[in-house]
């Protein structure tokens, strides 16, 4: 096996070497290669999910449009949501965690390399299975047998009565299988962080990236179980005549909602906490200052992790729960805003008094701060249950969660791509193209998702394949759709920039950003063994200590 573990094969090598190289990638257990596999897998499905979104937005560009039939539209929003959550957002976060956590804690690999590989291939199988539904029975014309029950698959719409055929089962099985993969990866991340830290790296000395992925992994362990259980119950209902969600036999539609959202709410924190991790690494480096309030950041994240398990029924405010239940969930949901706000303030304080460099990773993180602030505030609006009785299940909610996932998570993710691309490939991307990507995406994002709030205020529900004339929704939907094309253009720029420079970029060196955590002490890309000698650390910023021997961090921590 080659020593530069993730460099792609040079084109002029014989095709035999290409087969060997592919074989290496398919059989790898190396955390860096698996990280790259997760990330490439997620990028592919990002494009697919984006196409699904574009189809929906074209259909909604004007009222009573007939670009696609209602059946196809309903499959589109189901596939878009399921793909983006389970086959884009989760894998990409696992990919970055896989790549970076062992490097950042001075370890040679994850705790269980073979489990790591197994987990990845389970997720890959899940993704393929979901899309196999398109050809599963009727073939591609009419979008085949793709599930059309929505990504949260409410009962009893998913029962055999209302969902004949196997489309719902593709949804269930694909998500179930990838759920097992997620649990495997979470076990790996948790064990790696707790057991493989290098000497001197007590829990209070490890990078925030490691802390936040630790909390994420713990959440995965608690949250995926309820979804797995609910899906087993659904399959028992559909095939063995069980009655969990069979309202005609005394079963409950509401209990599906409880089980799903007991998973579903922690799930969104599973997605956003790694985004916080990216931002917590990038902002200090590009502000040239240590993270402000490290212990508070850790405490706030742990608090968010715990609280996130107690807010789920804010997705169910309109279901007719008692006023006591609704009131409790209002309180818990508003409460989780406090530690979240604290984090925003700490990032702000990190920049305060610093020297901010505006390279592409930092641009994306700054936009993250503004946009995540807005997303959090629209979340506070939704947490006031009576306001949610109007805004819930409308385009306001769609705007809110896309503001979090795209405006928050995806922006942070882009920042992470640009920040660690030099480390992973050894090459530097084009800063000009990076900035072009940024500004195009800012424009597209705001055109689409700022204006999307307005149809929500004006009474437009979600998951409708068309809408009536005279509701006052037309102009806003048009603007929302136009934004999509700017986003598409910017994504093309992004992919082109990275792919081109992966092959043709200038050498980046081991530490292009003058950063402070252990991954920047290795070569770019790192050797397969990561560290020639096990590092010893004394503070949270080991490279800072090396670069500033007169003024090391461990004197102040």
């Amino acid at each position: 096996m080659s020593t530069d573990s993730i460099a792609l094969p040079r084109p002029q090598e014989a095709s035999r070497a290409l087969v060997d190289s592919l074989h290496d990638w398919v059989t790898t257990v190396d955390h860096k290669r698996l990280g790259v596999l997760y990330i490439l897998f997620a990028l592919f499905f990002l494009l697919v999910g984006g196409i699904e979104a574009t189809i929906m937005r074209i259909q909604l560009i004007r009222p009573q449009n007939d670009f696609v039939s209602p059946q196809v539209f309903n499959r589109m929003f189901t596939m878009h949501g399921t793909t983006m959550i389970f086959f884009v957002a989760m894998p990409v976060m696992f990919g970055f965690a896989n790549y970076l956590v062992p490097l950042m804690i001075g370890a040679r690999d994850m705790a269980f390399p073979r489990l790591n590989a197994f987990s990845f291939w389970l997720s890959a199988l899940g993704g393929i299975l979901l899309y196999f539904s398109l050809v599963g029975a009727n073939g591609l014309y009419g979008a085949g047998n793709a599930p059309d029950v929505g990504w949260f698959a409410y009962a009893p719409l998913t029962s055999q009565t209302f969902s004949r055929g196997h489309s719902t089962d593709f949804w269930t099985l694909a998500v179930l299988i990838s759920g097992f993969g997620s649990i495997g990866t979470a076990i790996n991340i948790l064990t790696t962080i707790l057991c493989l830290r290098c000497p001197g790296m007590k829990l209070g000395k490890m990078p925030l990236f490691a802390w936040l992925n630790l909390v994420m992994a713990a959440l995965v362990l608690i949250a995926i179980g309820p979804l797995t259980a609910a899906q087993i119950m659904l399959t028992l209902d559909r095939y063995l005549g069980a009655h969990f969600f069979d309202t005609q036999a005394g079963g409950s539609a509401v209990i599906w909602m409880h089980f799903f959202w007991i998973f579903g709410h922690p799930e969104v924190y599973i997605l956003v906490i790694p985004a916080f991790a990216f931002v917590s690494e990038i902002i200090p480096v590009f502000s040239r200052k240590a993270m402000f309030g490290y212990p508070v950041m850790v405490a706030a994240t742990v608090a968010i992790g715990f609280l996130s398990t107690a807010v789920w029924a804010h997705h169910m405010f309109t279901v007719g729960l008692s006023s006591n239940a609704n009131t409790f969930f209002v309180l818990s949901t508003m409460a989780i805003g406090v530690p979240t706000g604290i984090k925003i303030f700490n990032w702000l304080a990190t920049m305060w008094g610093g020297k901010i460099h505006f390279q592409t990773p930092m641009l994306f993180c700054i936009a993250f701060l503004f946009q995540f602030l807005i997303a959090g505030l629209t979340g506070i609006m939704l947490s006031a249950a009576p306001f949610d009785w109007q805004l819930g299940n409308s385009y306001f909610v769609v705007a809110h969660f896309h503001y979090v996932i795209v405006g928050g998570i995806l922006f942070a993710l882009f920042g992470a791509f640009y920040y660690w691309f030099p480390k992973m490939t050894g090459k530097m991307y084009s800063e000009t193209l990076g900035k072009l990507h940024f500004w195009l995406f800012v424009l597209g994002f705001h055109l689409t998702f700022d204006f999307m709030h307005i149809p929500g205020f004006l009474g437009m529900p979600r998951r409708i394949y068309t809408y009536e004339l005279g509701r006052g929704w037309d102009t806003w939907n048009l603007i929302v759709t136009i934004g999509v094309f700017f986003q598409a253009l910017s994504i093309l720029t992004f992919v082109g920039n990275l792919v081109w420079h992966c092959f043709k970029g200038e050498a980046a060196g081991s530490d292009p950003w003058d950063a402070w955590t252990l991954e920047w002490t290795t070569s770019s890309p790192p050797p397969v063994y990561n560290f020639a000698a096990v590092p010893t650390v004394r503070s949270r910023r080991p490279l800072w200590d090396l670069k500033h021997p007169d003024d090391p961090d461990w004197k102040y921590e």
């Binding site: 096996m1 290496d24 059989t27 790898t28 257990v29 001075g106 370890a107 040679r108 690999d109 705790a111 269980f112 390399p113 073979r114 649990i183 979470a186 076990i187 790996n188 948790l190 064990t191 707790l194 057991c195 493989l196 830290r197 290098c198 000497p199 992994a217 713990a218 362990l221 608690i222 949250a223 995926i224 179980g225 309820p226 797995t228 259980a229 609910a230 087993i232 119950m233 028992l236 063995l240 005549g241 069980a242 009655h243 969990f244 036999a249 005394g250 079963g251 409950s252 209990i255 089980f259 007991i262 096990v534």
Partner: protein
């Protein structure tokens, strides 16, 4: 390319950092506990909601003997691990075998009860809500017992070939954690199904 099968040593802070196997097994147990918790919640939520019979108090018989078997197997597996740690391979073999027998007895008891419920009482998973929640919860647990038994039997096979040595105490310990978890789940299931729910 060969995956490195050797144990990666935990860092030089040996003794300060927890062991990988135990941490991972606890993590797996946490995830499994989350799945079981939802089935338990469904069971409790659906108590009294069946539209037709049979009802729990009509057909359920408390499986005292088989419960004692399963819970004793936690004791025997502990004794086995202890024996191995002291180098007593023969003792380990005996107590490990006893664990498997007790676990298999428990599964046999479950099968027997299910046979009676299905063929004599007419209770299946599709009969009513009670049937649904009962078979799924007890069945999920039984499935985990079965998986555990398969792992225990594999270790039994290794033992008979003479491959289990005192240095494997750590791995046996981690596997025993799983078995103890299965027992704890049974205590919960037993309480909910046969005590609270009847």
């Amino acid at each position: 390319m060969n995956a490195t099968p050797t144990m990666m040593s935990d860092s030089q802070l040996d003794g300060e950092l927890p062991s990988r196997g135990h941490v991972a097994m606890f993590a797996l147990i946490a995830a499994e506990a989350a799945i079981f918790a939802i089935f338990v919640v469904a069971y409790i939520f659906d108590l009294g909601k069946s539209l037709t019979g049979p009802l729990p108090k009509d057909v359920l018989a408390v499986p005292i003997f088989y419960t004692i078997c399963l819970l004793s197997s936690s004791v025997t597996i502990h004794v086995a691990g202890h024996a191995l740690g002291q180098g007593k391979i023969g003792g380990f073999r005996t107590w490990w075998f006893a664990t498997i027998v007790l676990g298999a007895l428990f599964l046999y008891g479950t099968a027997q009860e299910w046979h009676r419920l299905i063929y004599q009482e007419g209770l299946t998973i599709s009969t009513n809500l009670f049937g649904t929640t009962y078979y799924s919860l007890v069945g999920l647990h039984g499935f985990h017992v079965l998986v555990g038994l398969i792992c225990l039997s594999a270790v039994m096979a290794f033992t008979l070939f003479g491959d289990i040595q005192p240095q494997h105490t750590y791995r046996i310990d981690v596997l025993s954690l799983y078995w103890h978890f299965v027992d704890v789940v049974w205590i919960v299931v037993f309480t909910v199904v046969y005590i609270i729910g009847r």
